[in-house]
């Protein structure tokens, strides 16, 4: 959420810290700051307000109040502390069908206004937040929302049907099939007509039973304020956050007003909001406030919470005095109902809805005092009470298979067709859950065979240990499966694969000390491990841990590699390492790998056969390019007196 730094001064006065200090204070005591930018000379801070503070801190007064708590000063000007004395009128009536869906609805009548451009200061502030200026009335409703957090809506009173000189608002549930016309989205010409499912809350013109807006979500063009508007009705209300959120999500509407309603600002905010907008409109559009109507059907107050003093320090790992705790509780605006050596009885400030249990207040004390005060307590060595059977045996299997030249892979649990289909999925080829590992392993074997040269391998040996899913009569089941795969040739399965595979399977059974029911298919063997875990010996420790030293990881080129073999006769005592280095230098920097794959000595000469693998990070290499490099190699070889076979 964006905050105009200078706007905060309206509430904090001179106590407002400079931008950098605000950033630091918020970062370490309240919220993450995503950045600061300058818009028309104004510093605008982008703050990530935490979900539990979205009811009070999505506005400038709320943020100012938060800063005031952090620096320990009272707000110089607080619109939420003003004494209210709003006149009432009987020209508007309100009927609320369900108090749960709409606990409070108010309407203020202002006459004799002049619609026009908003003053510069207001336009600048709105623009700094990325909000377009429309006219002084619409701008005023937006301004008050960004100021104190209550979304509001203005209607042209004369376009709103009256019955016997009275306006009638009805707030009710939508009927199935009913339609409502919503204001066109930015950039579109036509208003959007939405068909309703009966779960939405509507604001209705009581005289004609016409839906004029989706409560808390979006309004329509009905009785819209225009250049000639003279009399207006301002709506400020409170709607059930879940109904608002579900409706907004279903229709794909996310606007600043609906976001705030979803997070349930306090019901008590409403009269203060009306008070602010009445003053503002009088200032920028003239007009006379006639009176307001307020249907407050269901109140909600913050609970009284007992906070044990001992628990504060026990949970935070701090050593605060009771007076320090008291100080913070007062700074955030709580009402301390009772206090003694053992506990506080507190009520959180009415504009917040996140202070409901002792731990909520303890969190306040901790973060405002400063989490950097927490001193770390190093953990002590402790005996392990339980060894995880699955981890123990799968690790044992891993070690054996890796010793035998296998690599472990982890593949996707999703697949494009199998037994269990998920209700929802983003990718159309990933809507099912795998019931075996074999299918994925086949793909891994085949796709890796093209890389064997690059990897310096002769065949591909892989395994996976993972969860697979199936159906039972009543539910979904899962088990841990082990799949081992071998490929000795590049064109798919070959019976030669089975020999290696069989040995691997036997090794696994040996390690476990149990026989497994293997399913063999084209060079892949799979078995259910979960069935045997219970019958195996219970391990009492994890065994010797061998840490693997890994060099720096290097990202892999996506372009194909090309291999060339070269076999040479050299002097009998010539070291392969030296020959390899010479060839490597001659071949240039596109060589990513050289492997010696054959050696023998005959008649006083030694033969070395090397495979060189060329690959570029920028492009696919051409035959001609690689040949050029090889020509260089041959030349150097000749210079050294070696003979190419």
């Amino acid at each position: 959420m964006k905050i105009v730094h200078s706007w905060l001064k309206d509430y904090l006065g001179e106590a407002l810290p400079p931008v950098a200090a605000v950033e630091e204070l918020l970062t370490f005591h309240s919220f993450e700051v995503d950045g600061v930018e300058e818009v028309e000379g104004e510093a605008v801070i982008d703050i990530s307000v935490l979900p539990n503070r979205a009811s009070d801190c999505l506005c400038h007064r709320g943020m100012a109040r938060e800063l005031a708590s952090l620096i320990g000063v009272p707000l110089e000007n607080d619109p939420l502390s003003e004494k209210l004395d709003l006149a009432t009128t009987d020209k508007v009536s309100i009927t609320i069908e369900s108090a749960e869906a709409c606990p409070r609805f108010s309407a203020a009548l202002i006459t004799g206004i002049t619609v026009g451009e908003s003053p510069t200061w207001l336009q600048t502030r709105l623009r700094a937040l990325g909000v377009r200026s429309i006219n002084n009335i619409v701008d005023a409703t937006n301004y008050v929302m960004y100021a104190i957090g209550e979304p509001m809506h203005a209607y042209d009173a004369d376009l709103f049907k009256q019955v016997e000189g009275k306006w009638h608002f009805v707030i009710r549930n939508a009927k199935v099939g009913e339609t409502v016309s919503l204001l066109a989205e930015g950039g579109k010409d036509e208003d959007r007509i939405v068909e309703l499912t009966g779960t939405e809350l509507l604001i209705v013109d009581g005289a004609t039973d016409t839906p004029i807006g989706l409560a808390g979500v979006k309004g329509g063009r009905y009785a819209g304020v225009h250049a000639g508007t003279k009399n207006i009705i301002i709506e400020a209300a409170h709607f059930h956050p879940t109904i608002t959120r579900k409706t907004a999500r279903r229709l794909g509407i996310v606007i600043d007003a609906s976001k705030r309603f979803e997070n349930e600002p306090s019901r008590e905010l409403i009269p203060y909001a009306q008070n602010e907008i009445i003053k503002l409109i009088a200032d920028i559009a003239s007009g006379t406030f006639e009176g307001w109507v307020d249907e407050y059907k269901e109140t909600k107050v913050n609970p009284q919470v007992v906070v044990p003093v001992a628990q504060v320090n026990a949970l935070l790992g701090l050593a605060l005095e009771t007076s320090e705790m008291e100080d913070i509780l007062l700074r955030i605006g709580s009402d301390i109902v009772a206090m003694d050596a053992d506990s506080f009885t507190v009520i959180g400030p009415w504009e917040r809805n996140d202070l409901l249990i002792a731990e909520d207040f303890i969190e306040e004390i901790g973060r405002i005092h400063g989490l950097h005060h927490v001193v770390s307590i190093a953990p002590e060595a402790a005996p392990l009470v339980e060894v995880n059977v699955r981890q123990f045996y799968t690790e044992a299997i891993r070690h054996e298979l890796i010793e035998y030249g296998f690599s472990e892979v982890v593949t996707s649990s999703f697949t494009n067709k199998d037994v269990i289909q998920l209700q929802n999925s983003l990718a159309s080829d990933k809507t099912y859950l795998r019931s075996t590992l074999t299918k994925n392993l086949h793909k891994v074997l085949d796709s890796n065979f093209t890389h064997t040269d690059l990897l310096g391998m002769r065949d591909v040996r892989v395994f996976e240990i993972g969860t697979v899913f199936d159906k039972t009569e009543t539910s979904v089941s899962e088990h841990t499966s082990l799949a081992i795969g071998v490929r000795t040739k590049g064109n798919g399965y070959n019976p030669k694969d089975d020999a290696i595979l069989k040995t691997a399977c036997e090794t696994v059974e040996q390690v476990l000390g149990a026989k497994l029911a293997w399913q063999m298919e084209k060079g892949v063997a799979e078995a259910n491990l979960s069935t045997v875990f219970d019958s195996l010996n219970k391990p009492t420790s994890y065994g010797e841990y061998v840490s693997r030293q890994i060099n720096t990881y290097k990202p892999v080129s996506v372009y194909p590699a090309m291999s060339r073999d070269v076999a040479l006769w050299v002097k009998e005592d010539e070291m392969s390492f030296d020959v390899e280095t010479t060839i490597g230098h001659a071949a240039g920097n596109l060589v990513v790998r050289i492997d010696l794959f054959d050696t023998f000595t005959k008649d006083g000469r030694t033969s070395y056969a090397f495979r060189l693998v060329f690959q570029s990070f920028e492009r696919t290499l051409t035959d001609a390019e690689v040949t050029t490099h090889m020509d260089n190699v041959y030349q150097v070889v000749a210079e050294k007196g070696w003979e190419v076979r």
Binding site: L315, S412, L422, Q423, N440, N448, M457
Partner: protein, 230 residues
């Protein structure tokens, strides 16, 4: 991936943390309700969570979105003191890119006993990071919010030694906090007697930080050009 898990297990086993496992297909109750995630919380939406079809299951079930449900199951089955880690595969219905996959690995930890507080959390994390990144590390907390912890913190880590890309800078690494009393109580443990901390981090992210892995989707392709480097 499994190498990191093995190493993580080793590091934590020395301070008595048990490796716990649980199902990948979880009930809605264990994945959300027992973790104090409100019934209308956005994360339950279709958007973030993979749901099983009603016809296949006898109660609402999801692919677990975090390994926290295993913590709840463990708490129900054991009385404190509890020290555990849960490394495991989790699933989120998100668009994939270099730093996001629909499946990834999470590591969660839990320590419940009498008198456990934020200082113990800090100490345990410093111990873990120092061992995992082979050097002295410092940890700091910033305020945060999670439905299952209160107070909640964001954890930043700084490597003090070495000349890797990470050294000397504060890096945001994970979320953590003191386990919410509703969660503790809901698992049959008395929150007025016992308290505890929990933390969660993406193991994929640990790999990015330690090895410089650029695209976490590489962990799951089975491409040996990637796998065999480790």
């Amino acid at each position: 991936m499994t190498q990191m898990i093995s190493e993580i297990n080793q590091i934590f086993s020395e301070i008595g943390f048990v490796y716990a496992s649980g199902p990948e297909a979880e009930t809605e109750i264990y994945n959300f309700d027992k973790l104090n995630v409100a019934k209308d919380h956005p994360s339950r939406d279709m958007q973030d969570t993979f749901w099983f079809k009603n016809k296949d299951v006898s109660e609402p079930m999801v692919l677990r979105t975090h390994t926290s449900p295993v913590q709840a199951r463990y708490m129900e089955a054991h009385q404190p003191p509890i020290r555990m880690i849960v490394p495991g595969k989790v699933f989120r219905n998100e668009a994939t890119d270099a730093t996001h996959e629909a499946q990834f690995y999470q590591l969660e930890g839990l320590h419940i006993d009498k008198g456990v507080h934020l200082g113990h959390l800090k100490g345990t994390l410093e111990y873990f990071f120092s061992r995992f990144f082979s050097g002295r590390t410092e940890v700091r907390f910033r305020p945060s919010f999670f439905p299952f912890t209160e107070p909640s913190v964001e954890v930043d880590m700084k490597l003090l030694d070495g000349d890797s890309k990470l050294a000397g800078k504060w890096i945001e690494v994970m979320g953590a906090g003191m386990v919410h009393p509703n969660v503790i109580k809901g698992c049959g443990i008395d929150p007025t007697v016992y308290s505890g901390y929990a933390f969660g981090i993406g193991i994929d992210r640990l790999g990015v930080m330690r090895y410089g892995v650029e695209d976490i989707r590489d962990y799951y392709t089975g491409d040996l050009r990637f796998v065999n480097q480790f």
